[in-house]
Amino acid sequence: MGEHQLLFNEKAKKRVMYHLFVALILFFIFVWPVAKLFNRIEPFVLGVPLYVFMEWILGPFLVFLNILAYLLWFERADKTETEGSKKEA
């Protein structure tokens, strides 16, 4: 395994940690303790109570974006890695 591969592994590890940290923040916001702040029925947002909107629509959407961003980063990193290896060859 070349140095380039090891460097990529370290980068990947950092990226995984970053997205895991974002996931944790989202957990603190949407499950506890920040969720206490929007634990209300009023106002209705998009036709649903505030707490339901946050838990049912906004929270999952942000979690989805976090996972998507992580996957797209790996996709791009894989491409860069492959192109780099070709140039080296």
Binding site: M1, A35, N39, I41, V63, F74
Partner: protein, 493 residues
């Protein structure tokens, strides 16, 4: 009479399709070794793997139990279940799956026990992991089979007795799982997953827009009649913040440790597939849970005051408001949810036994012997599940409720192995895992039940982590070798 014929026709066609796909997979991809039989030769493409992961995750519990929970306790229980099931499961899967996949390719791991046994160089640890997982998953078999039997009885208007339904489904599942192994299970899961998702979404949309007046009207009605169900702590104050958080974490984190979920992280054909599947599973989970919540909210208006029969509420609503054809389709969707988990659990348990018990006791066993043992184990566990349906011991059903939090007791050791952490020792992992397992029962029943309002699963995990640290500190002389850690690090992310 006509209604019953329509039901049997739809259900019969569905079973025939499942059987055909399962046997086709067997004919097309004959397994020659246990990796072929138990893991599809580690060559499953993204579409099949994504659906099998999603379909395996959704079971009798998701289709009937969770919906009943939302009907009874309201949105806080949705936060607990949905957060646990599709936030934490997805996050833990995308976080861990690529590493599990890479180590599996490098060292031939299949089960979590393989990883523990190999990293910590401990056969005892591997066997204990196997025992814990068997105890965690077997009661689940009973729950799935009972669920299918019940669905068929209700759907057929009582003309198909509970036990006949359970035996019929058992025969179909055993036939394709025994012969086709992982590929048959995964291929049938694609159809089962699609039917299950379509059924849950269609039921919710029809309830909301055909019977009701749309989503805002559904929530407004609940806000007027039972507003306590729309905020924490929910109906009768059951899901207060302490219970909610202490429930979400161990339950959500526990699923990935179960053998039928863990082996799916190894089955992908490429690393990209291993990375992609959690995102897809998240999407399917989101659809199923979101629309399930909608159905529950509609059922609160249509059939209020049925808390005692909450598990059956969707089937009751569909039977009351929709034609029998639709009832049959919803029952097929329910059966899909249960069958897709049941076949995966059978195979997962067989994998566990052949790797973590038989493989440890007979390391020199030939390829053919291992393959034959795997086949017979599928048959044996199917039979055990069926027996349990008839015996129906209450204790097992109760243990089934702790399935995930028993599994999570293995997670600390697994994560430490995946991250090559050297400080924690095999003794610490072993003692922590066993103590956590016992702790779930101590704080799950009797005078200490959910002590201080904290869910038993969290108590188990707290005890587990505390002993992991203490025992590891006391046994530093038995740490994993530096060479072992280096070889694991070399595998990378």
């Amino acid at each position: 009479m006509e209604k019953t014929i329509v039901f049997y026709l739809v259900f019969g066609l569905y079973m025939a399709a499942i059987l055909y796909i399962g046997l086709f997979a067997w004919q097309r991809f004959r397994a020659r070794d246990i990796e072929g039989y138990l893991l599809g030769g580690r060559a499953i493409d993204w579409f099949v793997l994504c659906w099998t992961l999603a379909a395996t995750q959704f079971s009798a519990l998701s289709f009937m139990g969770f919906l009943g929970y939302w009907y009874r306790f309201g949105v806080p229980s949705y936060t607990a279940i949905a957060t646990g099931m599709y936030w934490i499961v997805s996050v833990s899967t995308w976080f861990l799956a690529p590493r599990i996949w890479k180590l599996g390719r490098a060292y031939g791991h299949i089960t979590g026990g393989d990883l523990l046994g190999h990293f910590y160089q401990s056969k005892a640890l591997q066997c204990v992991y196997g025992v814990i997982m068997v105890i965690a998953v077997i009661p689940y078999l009973q729950v799935q089979m009972s669920g299918v039997g019940y669905l068929l009885e209700v759907g057929s208007g009582g003309s198909l007795p509970f036990w006949v339904g359970a035996v019929l489904i058992y025969l179909v599942i055993i036939l394709y799982t025994f012969f086709g192994g992982f590929r048959a299970v995964a291929f049938t899961d694609v159809l089962q997953g699609i039917v299950m998702t379509a059924g849950v979404v269609a039921a919710a949309l029809l309830l909301v827009y055909w019977i009701g007046d749309g989503i805002p009207a559904a929530f407004k009605a609940v806000a007027t009649t039972t507003p306590e169900r729309l905020t924490v702590p929910g109906w009768k104050g059951v899901f207060d913040w302490t219970f909610l958080v202490s429930w979400v974490l161990p339950v959500g984190l526990g699923w990935i440790t179960h053998p039928h979920m863990w082996i799916r992280a190894h089955a992908g054909s490429t690393l990209k597939v291993a990375r992609l599947t959690p995102l897809f599973a998240f999407g399917v989970s989101f659809f199923i849970y979101s629309f399930g919540l909608l159905s529950a909210m509609m059922c609160l208006q249509l059939l209020p005051g049925n808390e005692a029969e909450a598990d059956k509420i969707l089937i009751m609503a569909v039977a009351k408001y929709f034609p029998v054809l639709f009832l049959a389709i919803i029952c097929a969707a329910g059966a899909a949810a249960m069958m897709s988990s049941l076949d995966s659990q059978l195979l997962g348990l067989a994998t566990l036994c052949v790797r973590d018990f038989f493989g440890v006791l007979r390391p020199q066993a030939s390829k053919d012997t291992l393959l034959a043992v795997s086949h017979y184990l599928v048959l044996a566990f199917g039979f055990i599940g069926l027996i349990l349906v008839f015996v129906n011991p209450g204790l097992l059903t109760t243990v089934g409720a702790f399935s995930s939090v028993l599994g999570v007791q293995a997670l600390p050791g697994l994560v430490l192995a995946l991250f090559n952490v050297r400080w924690f020792t095999k003794h610490g992992v072993l003692v922590g895992m066993v103590a956590g397992f016992v702790g779930v029962f101590v704080f799950g029943f009797g005078p200490l039940k959910n002590y201080l309002g904290i869910y038993a699963g969290s108590w188990g995990l707290i005890i587990n982590l505390a002993l992991l640290v203490v025992v590891s500190a006391l046994t530093q002389g038995h740490r994993v070798s530096e060479e072992q850690v280096k070889t694991y690090k070399r595998i990378g992310w």
